[in-house]
């Protein structure tokens, strides 16, 4: 097994106050300081090593929240998440990019943020640049990149990190069509090599083909867990 999720709940406090002063005033007037909202409610499942799983659900159903809990960005309120092996979340590529640095500098920074050592980056640098196909602009500041070029570079870095569990959120829509196909092929290759995949996407046809298993989430609860095409059918039926 690679991921074990047991009775996982995540409750967000929607705070109505944003300073000490507001808090004090609200407390004196006995107004509620916050209200709570269950983004995930008693979610349980296990994912085996090497499995590919699509997380499906409508906007706001809690998919990104679940991926953030698996990657450790968020911490559970109740229940537990356990993972085995190195986890990399492609939750939003390019989060660690700095517009004033060149593509080259950003590759090093971003790869280090994603957990690579200097040696690993040195040895993969050429692959990363080649995959992104923007070698010509590698020493240009990324603020001068087109948004597609930016995403290409960010995706290349992310996809070249050494991982056991790859979490992908909504990023397969990057770049132009040839690049998208290339990304998909790369993800398939990683899966074939035995990586565990958890993919979120609204491109239902694509994820259903990419993944063997689908978990359908509705308002923070798992409503279906089974074959991916069937999960899509269930989702469309809702």
């Amino acid at each position: 097994m690679a991921i074990i999720v047991t009775e996982l709940s995540k409750t967000f406090l929607l705070r109505h106050t944003h300073s000490l002063k507001e808090s004090v005033i609200a407390a004196v007037r006995r107004k509620p300081l916050s209200s709570s909202f269950n983004a995930l409610d008693e979610v349980s499942f296990t994912i085996n090593t090497g499995e590919s799983v699509a997380l499906l659900g409508f906007n706001g159903s809690g998919k990104s929240t679940l991926l953030k809990l698996i990657s450790g960005v968020l911490r559970p309120d109740r229940g537990e998440v356990l993972t085995r092996g190195r986890v990399a979340g492609l939750i939003e590529v390019g989060a660690g990019f700095h517009p004033d640095l060149s593509g080259r500098e950003n590759i090093y920074l971003n790869a280090a943020i994603l957990g690579m050592s200097q040696k690993e980056i040195d040895s993969r640098f050429d692959d990363i640049v080649e995959f992104s196909e923007i070698a010509k602009f590698i020493d240009t500041e990324v603020k001068h990149y087109s948004s597609g070029m930016f995403l290409r570079l960010a995706f290349s870095v992310a996809i070249h990190t050494e991982v056991d569990i790859l979490l992908v959120d909504e990023i397969l829509s990057v770049g132009d069509e040839p690049f998208q196909r290339k990304c998909l092929a790369k993800i398939r290759q990683l899966h074939a090599e035995g990586r565990t995949l958890v993919v979120v996407s609204h491109d239902l046809g694509m994820v259903a083909d990419l993944c063997d298993r689908g978990i359908l989430i509705d308002k923070g609860r798992v409503v279906f867990d089974g074959e991916s095409h069937e999960a899509v059918v269930r989702m469309r039926a809702q």
């Binding site: 300073s19 000490l20 450790g72 911490r75 993972t83 085995r84 939750i91 957990g115 050592s117």
Partner: protein
């Protein structure tokens, strides 16, 4: 890839090798990921003066202007120049300490909010940000220290080993203190932006609460003994006096007296700063679980 993102190993017969994501080892993880730390520091240093003509000259221009303002106002107009020997060196050796402290503390407090996009999307030891702010401030301090040393050499500076060690201790005190306070106020700042304004207030007071612009003996004459002890227990005061002892004292003809028990108060300050660092780390870890959702 470094295997440091998760450290708490879960035990159990069939749960071998499983970990709870998101539970790091705090400052120890920062040390483990020092390559990333070095890149973050380098980025900050590179980016700071991007697009300015003078570039890194600004890190000389600012402290020199600040120095001139104080020197004219206090040294010339208030005539401290006459009562404190070699007042320019006295003034500048105190100012560099305050500048280091201010920059590290104020940027460290804001560092988590400034890096919100990263914190919300990727798990990494969040202590990296206050720590890198402190290191950037330290790097910014170095050119000032060099200017100070050069000026000292021209005014007959020949420090002994003890005095040099005093300088190192003083800088260490300030770095630890700023790091601990940044962890503390930085983590509060995530939920309450009041913290960063409060820190500006502390820094305003800090410049005057230590013998930077005036001399300790002037305070000693007025304050009762117990209050003087409290005054000297301020770690920033101890650091300022250690730098005075290292840079300024050797350039005078020793007709001045340094405050007594300087080493004692220096060690007290080192202990205070270390304790505050531990407290800062503990508070940070308590509040950290909410960073990604509150930012």
């Amino acid at each position: 890839m470094k295997r440091t993102r998760v450290t708490q190993i879960v035990s159990g017969p069939d749960l071998d090798g499983f970990v709870r994501p998101g539970q790091g080892a705090g400052l120890i993880d920062v040390f483990r990921r020092r390559y990333l730390l070095s890149l973050l520091v380098r980025k900050e240093v590179q980016v700071r003066y991007r697009g300015s003509v003078l570039g890194w000259m600004w890190s000389y221009v600012k402290p020199i202007t600040q120095f001139l303002v104080f020197f004219v106002a206090l040294g010339v107009f208030l005539q401290l120049n006459g009562s404190i020997p070699n007042y320019p060196v006295y003034l500048f050796s105190g100012l560099v300490v305050i500048n280091l402290f201010s920059e590290a503390f104020s940027n460290g407090t804001k560092s988590l909010v400034d890096n919100a996009p990263l914190i919300k999307k990727i798990y990494l030891p969040r202590e990296l940000f206050p720590v890198s702010s402190t290191l950037v401030a330290f790097i910014n301090f170095l050119p000032q220290a060099i200017v100070l040393a050069v000026v000292c050499v021209f005014t007959g500076w020949a420090p002994n080993l003890v005095q040099v060690l005093g300088i190192v201790l003083g800088v260490l005190i300030v770095v630890l203190l700023a790091m601990g306070l940044s962890l503390f106020f930085g983590s509060i700042n995530v939920s309450f932006r009041d913290a960063q304004n409060f820190v500006e207030l502390i820094l305003l007071v800090a410049t005057w609460a230590s013998p930077v612009l005036y001399q300790w003996s002037m305070v000693d004459k007025i304050l009762p003994d117990w209050l003087m002890v409290i005054y000297q227990l301020n770690p920033v005061t101890a650091a300022v006096e250690l730098l005075h002892a290292g840079f300024w004292f050797p350039t005078t003809d020793a007709e001045v007296t340094m405050p007594p028990n300087l080493w004692f108060f220096g060690l007290c300050a080192l202990i205070t700063s270390s304790v505050l660092l531990v407290v800062g780390q503990l508070v940070f870890r308590r509040l950290e679980r909410r960073f990604a959702q509150d930012l």
